[in-house]
């Protein structure tokens, strides 16, 4: 969608999808030579050369993994060559070739993430994306929770051509993953919204261009996600949950931004803090550059679990952070690009292709009114509307995409955007055209009503394709969508207006923290079998830019979630007072009472009575977490410890919630469990087969890390480790508030100490000392 004057010369040719020059080029590289940004072109060539080197075993696997992740080329589930087929774990017999990263087989299918800054995408770009989905993937374009597209089941060998074809239409995958600046998201209504101060899209676009590949954003310990919002009180860009957020403001007739930093989801969600109430527009880029430098310099590097900017801001405090940014700003060498874009503001919105006109009575297809009520929003520009396509789980086929392109060309031109709710919006649709647009969308299966309502469930990839997935978030999402759509006509409005968001694990890629009803996948052992569950998170706030997070109320088996949703929504519909919102209702009810509502669904029947509970949605295999892999959520591969310790953090978080809620016994117990999980994670770096029995964990922890003082630090010595040993030796008979509060505090300190210990131990190992990992399988 990028149509700035500087890019006019690179306007996509139809060549990009269908080469027809003579003599016929035999490669995409030849076919598209000169049609790509020259910098991007040579980067892709380099990436291709590195792939070749790696495939010949001439480049280190970790170096190559880092390179490919920076280009958005991710691993996918089962790419370690193992898969549980429901009867046993079996090897996937790929050819024996050099890996594409640690434990990541060359030929195993992977995922390609494609960055779409502020969600803006043009018809030409969509045509290319559709073609790529057919030629390299499975014919599906998937819209992510950060306005990107993803293609799944991609072979690494196809990625350079895929990138070239994208580059020829001005799309890059660079820094779609890795410890760098990820996609810059923005409210999809920017430019047409009634409540915005001004259109933030050109600023988001300028920032993306400025930061892409910038030397100051290459040395982060972890990813950095910016978001733009046009106003403060709607959901808009969800800036409060972002590493950096920008809210447009006009002060004394001057444009600028309220800037927040240090928000983020993940297992431990943080709300962003205000860095500046008003940053004038010409300071937007230099200030962000200064933030990047401070983050790169002081952010945690070794301990991935602590490396997001949220931990830095929490650690040093926002005042100190602000001071450092101001200091840094003073010494930044001047860069013309800081203000250049203001003179020649990038054009980010296309022109309307139809005249504004009112919707008049007339011939309308069945379903039009319901669709109009939920999927169409009037724009600030009189006579135009925004039409939302309620994509099921963010998926759209290549055929649908091409038909959508034709429709867009006729009715809205370039004005297409993806949304964080995994939808697509068409902007500048003339009101008079709405019946015809509805008819044409309906003909291609894209007129499902209920956009942004309870039926429009958001979900991360989960166990379908994600290596870290614990439960089938998409399977559950599809099931809920189908059930809720079937009864949508009879749902009270208050229920219709709720949002459901699902993540396959605690990492929260599905943004469950900011939904009315959120879920994240976990599992429970029942009679020796593992049963997929979802933790229920209630009362997150979507408006106020994701202004507060939901509260965990308990885990329900996956197969009972639909009933739990019914129970919750019924109770809310009948119990709300006046116009009380869901979050307020949850708060008033209190955790204990809400938990009572889902309690009847928490039990798991014995296998013989309910075998269905032991398989996940959209799957028939008996459930296992044996397929959990090592995730690639950033520039480097996450260690086993990294994965396991976040589980401890998540338990500590739940403990805090329980404490706040007055459930002291649960808080005390969860806090103890969090320490055990962290201790086990540490033990497993050396002894992979340690059981989950607390006695074993504590005994292994004591002999491997405590008695020899490896857990000790210079100041606190063994104090934090002692917390676990004491609690294990002497459980409280009856946990009151003080006990529980102390335990929650101890758990946090213990987890910090475990992190620090792991860093020391891995440094020792790297230096050649340390204890080798004991794995009987290797013995």
């Amino acid at each position: 969608m990028i149509q700035g004057a500087d890019r006019a010369s690179r306007e996509p040719q139809f060549m990009a999808t269908t080469p027809s020059s003579t003599p016929s080029p035999s490669t995409w590289k030849e076919a598209l030579a000169g049609q790509m940004d020259s910098g991007w072109e040579s980067e892709i060539d380099d990436f291709e050369s590195q792939s070749v080197l790696r495939s010949q075993g001439k480049l280190d696997e970790k170096v190559f993994a880092e390179t490919r992740l920076r280009r958005g080329v991710y691993g996918q589930r089962y790419d370690n060559g193992k898969r549980h087929d429901g009867t046993a774990e079996r090897p996937l017999a790929f050819e024996d070739r050099p890996t594409k990263g640690p434990d990541t087989l060359w030929d195993a299918p992977g995922m390609q993430r494609i960055k779409i800054p502020f969600g803006g995408v043009s018809p030409e770009q969509l045509e290319v994306l559709a073609a790529l989905s057919e030629e390299y993937s499975d014919g599906i374009l998937h819209v992510t929770t950060r306005q990107d597209f993803q293609l799944h089941y991609i072979h690494i060998g196809d990625t350079p051509d895929l990138m070239r074809r994208l580059a020829a239409v001005d799309i890059t995958t660079r820094e779609a993953c890795g410890n760098s600046v990820r996609n810059i998201t923005a409210c999809p209504l920017a430019g047409v919204c009634k409540t915005e101060a001004f259109d933030i899209s050109p600023y988001a676009e300028a920032m993306m261009r400025f930061l892409l590949g910038h030397p100051d954003v290459q040395d982060f310990g972890r990813k950095f996600k910016p978001a733009f919002s046009g106003c403060e009180h709607e959901a808009c860009g969800l800036v409060q949950m972002h590493d950096a957020g920008y809210v447009s403001r006009v002060v004394d007739g001057k444009r600028g931004f309220k800037v927040v930093v240090g928000g983020g989801l993940g297992p431990v969600p943080h709300q962003a803090k205000v860095l500046s109430e008003f940053t004038p527009e010409e300071e937007l880029l230099p200030q962000t550059q200064a933030v990047a430098r401070v983050f790169a310099r002081l952010g945690e590097k070794r301990n991935r679990g602590r490396a997001r900017i949220k931990f830095l801001v929490a650690k040093i405090g926002i005042e100190e952070f602000r001071r450092l940014v101001e200091e840094e700003r003073k010494i930044l060498p001047k860069d013309e690009r800081w203000t250049e874009f203001l003179k020649d503001m990038p054009r980010t919105g296309g022109d309307a292709v139809r005249d504004a006109a009112s919707l008049v009575a007339g011939d309308r297809q069945e379903g039009f009114d319901a669709w109009l009520a939920t999927n169409v929003k009037p724009q600030r520009q009189e006579g135009y509307s925004v039409v939302t396509l309620n994509l099921p789980l963010g998926d759209i086929t290549a055929d649908q995409t091409r038909a959508l392109v034709d429709l867009a060309r006729a009715y809205c031109g370039d004005n297409i955007r993806t949304t964080v709710e995994q939808n697509i919006v068409l902007r500048f649709v003339s009101d008079a055209d709405l019946p015809e647009v509805h008819r044409r969308l309906d003909a291609i299966g894209l007129a499902a009503p209920g956009a942004e309502t309870i039926v429009d469930v958001t979900s991360c990839p989960g166990t379908d394709t994600c290596k870290l997935g614990i439960a089938a978030s998409r399977g559950l999402g599809a099931e809920l969508r189908q059930r809720l759509a079937a009864k949508s006509a009879s749902l009270p409005q208050a229920v219709t207006d709720l949002k459901i968001k699902i993540s396959g694990c605690f990492n929260s890629c599905g943004q469950h923290h900011v939904a009315d009803i959120g879920f994240y996948g976990n599992s429970r052992k029942i009679e020796g079998r593992t049963v997929p569950h979802f933790q229920v998170i209630l009362g997150g706030q979507w408006t106020e830019n994701a202004g507060s997070y939901g509260m965990a109320v308990g885990s329900v088996p996956s197969k009972a979630i639909p009933q739990a949703v019914d129970a919750l929504t019924d109770a809310y519909a009948h119990g709300r007072e006046g116009a009380e919102g869901f979050a307020a209702w949850v708060k008033r009810m209190g955790k204990r009472n809400v938990r009572e509502l889902i309690k009847p669904f928490m039990a798991v029947p014995p296998y013989a009575e309910g075998p269905d509970f032991y398989a996940d949605w959209s799957d028939v295999r008996e459930f296992t977490i044996g397929d959990l892999g090592v995730g690639e959520c950033a520039g480097e591969v996450v260690s086993l410890f990294g994965i396991e310790v976040v589980r401890a953090e998540s338990e500590a978080f739940d403990a805090q919630v329980a404490l706040d809620d007055g459930d002291y016994e649960a808080a005390e117990d969860l806090a103890f469990r969090a320490m055990l999980t962290a201790a086990r994670a540490l033990v497993r770096t050396e002894y992979i087969d340690v059981t989950e029995d607390p006695d074993d964990i504590v005994s292994e922890f004591r002999s491997r890390f405590f008695d020899n003082e490896r857990f000790f630090d210079r100041f606190a010595r063994g104090k934090f480790g002692q917390y676990l040993l004491d609690r294990h030796a002497d459980p409280p008979a009856d946990a009151g508030r003080d006990h529980a509060a102390a335990r929650v505090e101890e758990a946090q300190l213990f987890i910090e100490a475990a992190h620090a210990c792991e860093v020391r131990v891995s440094a020792e190992l790297a230096a050649g000392g340390g204890v080798p990992i004991e794995n009987p399988a290797d013995a």
Binding site: G86, L92, D395, T397, A478
Partner: protein, 198 residues
Amino acid sequence: MNPQRVACKFFVEPDPTAPVELHPCIGLFHRFIQEAVLPGLLIDVADYTHVPEGPGVLLVGHDVDYGLDLGGGRAGLLTTRKRLDGASLTDALRDTLQRGLRAIDAIESDGSTGLCFDPRAVVIQVVDRLAAPNDEGAYAALADEVAPVLAALYGEKVEVARAHAEDSRKCLALRATGQERESAADLANRLTGGEGSG
């Protein structure tokens, strides 16, 4: 023509446009993996039943994907041969058709999905816009090149027509229709070893 991908789709009968219940195919495809029912490396099952006229249920393999596909509003088994890396179109197509027919035979013999297919007609797609743009010239070359394979499959009286001509952005495609009703297994056997390819 040396495309990277070719695909063929055989449609369900009696009416490929009637709604089909695809959920039983999830279990079926997992069983195909467990029991190695189809040749080659099979990896996983993807459920796209929530997508209107989408890929339905997909059995993802290393070299070949099998999908109980709803594309174009017509249910059928779409078999996609991937990363052909220089294989000739005729060899690739012969292999793809044969795999598709064997998969149909396996699905019908299993019986649990209740799906039946009409092997008398097939749509062949060349899923590679560089090697095969969707235009008249490429279609003529395609029809010429695959004629021996189609003759081997359906005999000399096979009818061949261009498909997807209405939209040059779609993949180059043709539809072949045979005269006689024969079983999928018999048709698959005819493609073995290139007999009858003259």
